[in-house]
């Protein structure tokens, strides 16, 4: 069963590469071929990459359909994927991307930290109920995000978004 499933996944990966190749080719159509003195124009490499990926993708699909990808490492982590943890972490990252300019670096990153840590805790199956782990993560998140923010904005003068213009929050 696991074998069949992984072959299914491998076919999808191969198909994804083929799709990427077709997308690149579609984009290459609109790039002018004017080569000037150079002999090859700005559309040469796009076409080359698109064709090469098409060949690679087709070959990957072929391998997947005929016994699976060749010469794979033994998978050390072969349990079923823990999707709910993945959702926690993904939410954390996407919320961070969406809110960083409004909430500022410290708060937005702390939020990302709390959500990602929650997913990881759950994946280990060690979550204790109640508020305590939430508060711990919140505290640790602030303790990482705030000094990083100050280090970068105050010491290295790199612009990171803040909630206020003080440079402290």
């Amino acid at each position: 069963m696991a074998q069949a499933q992984s072959q299914h996944g491998q076919t999808l990966v191969g198909a994804g590469v083929v799709l990427l190749a077709l997308g690149l080719a579609a984009g290459a159509v609109s790039i002018p071929s004017d080569a000037g003195y150079a002999g090859v124009g700005p559309n040469f490499l796009p076409w080359l990459v698109a064709s090469a990926l098409l060949v690679c993708g087709a070959f990957l699909v072929f391998e997947a359909r005929t016994g699976g990808f060749r010469e794979m490492d033994d998978e050390t982590f072969d349990g079923p994927p823990y999707w709910s943890g993945f959702v926690w972490m993904s939410t954390g990252m996407l919320v961070n991307a969406a809110l960083i300019t409004t909430l500022g670096f410290i708060l937005s990153c702390t939020l990302c930290f709390v959500l990602a840590a929650r997913g990881l805790r759950n994946s280990q199956g060690k979550t204790t109920p109640g508020l305590r782990p939430w508060l711990t993560d919140l505290g640790v998140g602030v303790l990482i995000a705030a000094p990083v923010y100050w280090l970068f904005t105050k010491f290295l003068a790199i612009n990171l978004p803040g909630l206020t213009h003080s440079g402290w929050l």
């Binding site: 090469a52 943890g85 954390g92 929650r118 970068f152 290295l156």
Partner: protein, 499 residues
């Protein structure tokens, strides 16, 4: 010769200022820490810190990054000896014997031989860099665009087709990297490619984003999806010291490891897998009597000393192709090249003349850093070992904060954070299906340069590709590329038929 000596002294003078020494020290300490911590390696650490290139002066930040680069090699062996989890490929060989030694109560001796061996190999390899890099640079100045293009082709071939297990997956990764490199303005004509009218994409995709996404974010996503139930066990520490017999067995192994590793770094073939495995095989073959019986059993000290030295020698001499030819062959050297580019410096043969102060300060800092790392890793090893106990949820969630700094700090654009997540997903899929990541990063950073060299070469040939075959050097390189592609398959087939 005298010239090299005086320039090296000048380099020591630059690297030895208190501020630069501090940068080197912070780099080495940070490098050791990221080496010890699972889930984050030198490439990721340097990539996340690339935004500092906007503010920190070039010499200081290159010294800092170099410290992280080889500091991580020292730290990596600590993890592979003490932790029973599969580490990165560079320390995989060290783990084979190191773990066995640690299980039979000799963790301290294994850590000591790894640290001292790294120091010996690192120092010898730095001498090698000092002596040979200027010579290679002098020669490389004479190479024209056709030769350069062929060299890059060689780097692409070795990094994608030869080093990984599967040629087709390596090539797929390479072309994905080249495709990422295509996004943005074409260097020669200024033509926008694959920007899809998104203004953020006109400048192209930042290498930081790709590196941090492929390594850090993908690693965190992989951890939450698959590694939750993983039970880790830690080997017991013992006193970090070596007996007389340990020394007697380690010294020749260090020297042999260095001799095996150093040449591998110089050729654009990248990777530490081959030299470390070769060194391991050599030590096993040369061992006699009761020492030989320890291999794979109680753990033989030669099996740690040799590969660890080979690893560090390769990593150090890998700076030669980077500095003299501008050709990176590993993830980390590719990111270092990105750091140079942020300063508007193009690594290559001119580097030794145009930025000689910077280069020599960097080389001098390698000597200084190796001494610092020996001190950091021998008496202070107990401190680093504590890092192994950082709980995984906080570790990976914290890595995501640093990933945000790296990705956002480069261009101050929230769009990049969405892109970071997308690249993280790509990295997760690649990891799951066993695609190598180095070809993506190398392809992305070298692709645009190779394209420019190709066009220049064909202009030289007045529009004809025959130019590659008419010049002896580029023809030779093309033949090497062809043989690198064909010979391994041939050997494999012969092996199969013989068995």
């Amino acid at each position: 010769m005298m010239d090299i000596w005086s320039q090296l002294l000048q380099g020591f003078a630059t690297a030895g200022t208190p501020v630069n020494l501090l940068w080197a020290f912070v780099g080495c300490a940070l490098g050791t820490a990221v080496g010890v911590l699972p889930g984050i390696g030198p490439a990721t650490a340097v990539a996340m810190l690339l935004p500092i290139t906007a503010q920190v002066e070039a010499t200081a930040s290159m010294i800092f990054f170099a410290g992280i680069y080889y500091g991580a090699m020292y730290g990596g062996s600590t993890t592979s000896i003490l932790l029973n989890t599969p580490g990165e490929t560079a320390s995989m060989v060290t783990a084979m014997e190191g773990n066995k030694m640690a299980k039979s109560g000799r963790a301290g001796a294994a850590l000591a031989t790894a640290a001292i061996g790294s120091f010996v190999a690192g120092t010898f390899a730095t001498i090698f860099v000092t002596l040979f890099a200027p010579i290679v640079a002098e020669y490389a100045v004479k190479l024209g665009p056709p030769e350069y293009f062929c060299l890059m082709l060689l780097a692409f071939t070795t990094v994608s087709a030869v080093l990984g297990q599967s040629t087709v997956r390596g090539l797929t990764a390479l072309f994905v990297g080249l495709a990422l490199g295509l996004i943005g303005m074409d260097q020669i004509t200024g033509q926008a490619r694959y920007t899809g009218n998104v203004p953020e994409l006109i400048d192209g995709v930042e290498i930081v984003l790709v590196a941090v996404g492929l390594f850090a974010v993908a690693e965190a996503l992989h951890a939450v999806l698959f590694e939750g139930r993983l039970v880790e066990s830690e080997n017991k520490m013992s006193r970090v010291s070596m007996t007389v017999s340990d020394w007697r067995r380690s010294i020749p192994a260090w020297l042999r490891g260095t001799a095996i590793g150093a040449p591998f770094g110089c050729i654009p073939a990248g990777g530490t897998e081959i030299p470390t495995f070769l060194s391991y095989a050599a030590e096993k073959k040369l061992a006699k009597g009761s020492n030989k019986a320890e291999f794979g059993n109680k753990g033989a000290i030669e099996g740690v000393a040799g590969p660890e030295a080979a690893n560090n020698a390769t990593v150090t001499t890998a700076l030669i192709p980077l500095l003299t030819l501008g050709i990176p062959v590993s993830n980390t050297t590719a990111i270092l090249m990105g750091a140079f580019q942020n300063y508007g410096i193009q690594p290559g043969p001119q580097l030794f003349t145009s930025s000689s102060a910077l280069v020599w300060a960097l080389i001098a800092s390698l000597y200084i850093g190796n001494v610092m790392l020996l001190v950091l890793n021998l008496p202070l090893v107990g401190f680093w070992v504590k890092l192994l106990r950082v709980p995984k949820p906080q570790l990976y969630a914290g890595i995501l904060i640093f990933a945000t700094v790296g990705a956002y700090g480069m261009r101050q654009s929230a769009f990049d954070l969405f892109l970071l997540y997308a690249i993280g997903i790509l990295g997760l899929v690649m990891r799951r299906f066993n695609f190598p990541t180095a070809p993506v990063v190398v392809g992305m950073i070298l692709g645009p340069l190779a394209e420019a060299q190709l066009r220049n070469a064909i202009s030289i040939g007045e529009g004809s590709a025959w130019v590659f075959l008419q010049r002896p050097m580029s023809l030779t390189l093309l033949l090497i590329v062809a043989s690198v592609l064909v010979v391994p398959h041939f050997l494999k087939r012969r092996q199969v038929t013989q068995v």
